[in-house]
Symmetry: C2
Subunit: 306 residues, 2 copies
């Protein structure tokens, strides 16, 4: 039994932000090694048109591969109903569709306003239901938008309700822009849960753009959040500058949770070794994280066993 589910999104969120394409075999090694380290859920790719994101062109093959790993929950991102059909055909356990709380960002990113996105969510959820696939909606830019600035919390709550009406079995709050602060994480988690029920919102997707990633995790833990997305080496997200990673770093998240005595089922040493696979496949690509340099505390195992 684990207390907290660490959901690895690097093969999707990380690799889609990089120009180079990681070879399929390297992706497989990465996924297999993380699963062997105890990671129980991996977002392996995205069913977007390969013309738009050639980095994700092999997602169906990865799903098939990952399905062969016992005990691993295989997730893929789908941008729309068409992607949902491809994901269902590939055989994912779960699919997740991003729904931007900032309408400006939504229009800019996927050329759909909010009503059009709700329609897309309804169509995609129907496909998921038909194939008995878990269907999640990621409420992106929930904590603010680089174009609009603040996104009204009432708007997030209202759109969360609409997403559930359109078929979302689960929601996540996504800090796409690295805008979240701990007080806001607590407040927004409570508000959305009050509207849609606590069991519908169990996941936070946090970034570390401003160094607040783990601080926001603590706020989420205080609210009873049980799933956190993270990316190995902090790959991807929206890095601004060297040293400023985008995504939450899986290694640092696991160090913190394990040191707190929360069970993740993940072996930190084995997880740190997975970095080599990514480094070899993407030479020169910056990987982030404090734990790889500093190492765990001397009494880490004692804490983790507590």
């Amino acid at each position: 039994m684990t207390d907290i589910l660490v959901s690895e999104v690097g093969p999707r969120d990380g690799l889609q932000s990089i120009d180079r394409v990681m070879p399929l075999e390297a992706k497989k090694r990465w996924i297999a090694a993380e699963a062997a380290a105890g990671v129980k859920e991996i977002e392996v790719g995205s069913f977007v048109p390969p013309k738009l994101l050639p980095q994700m062109a092999d997602t169906a093959e990865l799903v098939a591969f990952a399905r062969g790993i016992e005990g691993l929950n295989v997730v893929a991102l789908v941008p729309n109903a068409k992607g949902a059909s491809r994901a269902a055909e590939a055989g994912v356990h779960a699919m997740s569709i991003p729904f931007s709380m900032s309408e400006t960002h939504s229009i800019k990113n996927v050329r759909k306003d909010h009503p059009a996105m709700i329609a897309e969510i309804a169509a995609a959820s129907a496909i998921a239901r038909e194939h008995d696939i878990h269907f999640a909606v990621g409420l992106s830019t929930a904590f603010g938008c680089t174009m609009e600035g603040a996104v009204a919390e009432d708007q997030v709550v209202r759109l969360a309700e609409k997403a559930v009406e359109a078929g979302a079995e689960e929601l996540s709050l996504s800090d796409t822009t690295g805008y979240a602060d701990p007080a806001q994480v607590r407040r927004l988690t409570r508000k959305v849960r009050a509207a849609v029920g606590a069991d519908r919102l169990t996941t936070l997707h946090l970034h570390n753009t401003r160094g607040l990633g783990l601080a926001n995790v603590v706020a989420g833990l205080e609210e009873g959040i049980t799933t956190f997305d993270a990316s190995l080496g902090g790959l991807g997200g929206c890095p601004f500058a060297p040293g400023a990673s985008g995504n939450l770093v899986t290694e640092d998240l696991v160090l913190m949770l394990n040191a707190m005595g929360l069970k993740t089922g993940i072996d930190l040493e084995k997880l740190l070794e997975v970095r080599r696979i990514v480094e070899e496949a993407l030479p020169g690509e910056p990987l982030y994280g404090f734990t790889p340099d500093a190492g765990p505390m001397l009494d880490y195992k004692q804490r983790a066993a507590a």
Copy 2:
């Protein structure tokens, strides 16, 4: 009125970890600029023998200078009763003596076991009392030690009580080694406060060696801690490797607290400009922090005013 006091320790904790000596005039510019940015407390130096730490040789002059800045609380570190006399003579508002919870570390660092340190604290506190100077004891290695590993929480509680008996008006829990995790911060804060009273423990001195610094701040805030030490650019502490800073970065701490709507009285833009003074005085010295690269959120002022 401020909700949270950010106490700048860079001129002491930062500069003592660096081989080069920052010129007195640069230190003055740094202290004056931080005070002008709204920082209300600065640890300006340490009354250690200049032979041991030439970087701190001008501490008395800095105290005199800093005392001239209206509204600024001027703190100095003292290692022993002799240092306390020099600090009193120089005219500090407050002095702080480190007391290592790990006896191995204490013996290695200042060649004193716990009974000898308690005697030193009693002697130093008598000097402080005589001069009506606020007297604090920093419980260093409170969250673990690089030599001993885990430091028993009961031992920290017991030594905290002894420090109060010896004259400590205030205690701080100090994560000298970057070992603290958020669960431990909450637990140890509660235990020590239960033993000595909540009003005696209002300060945390946290490091960011493993990237958990701000996560630990959130844990401290949940427990009602109201003062956090930090160092501009994360200067000092015990950096392990490039990218892994030692001290908590003042700029990131202020960004987070202000964004949470907690009043620090500090102007983030002005604070970020202070980095230039340090960069010019210590060319090539690495400064850390996410905020300088990423900048505040677009709606930062809106949040900070909330």
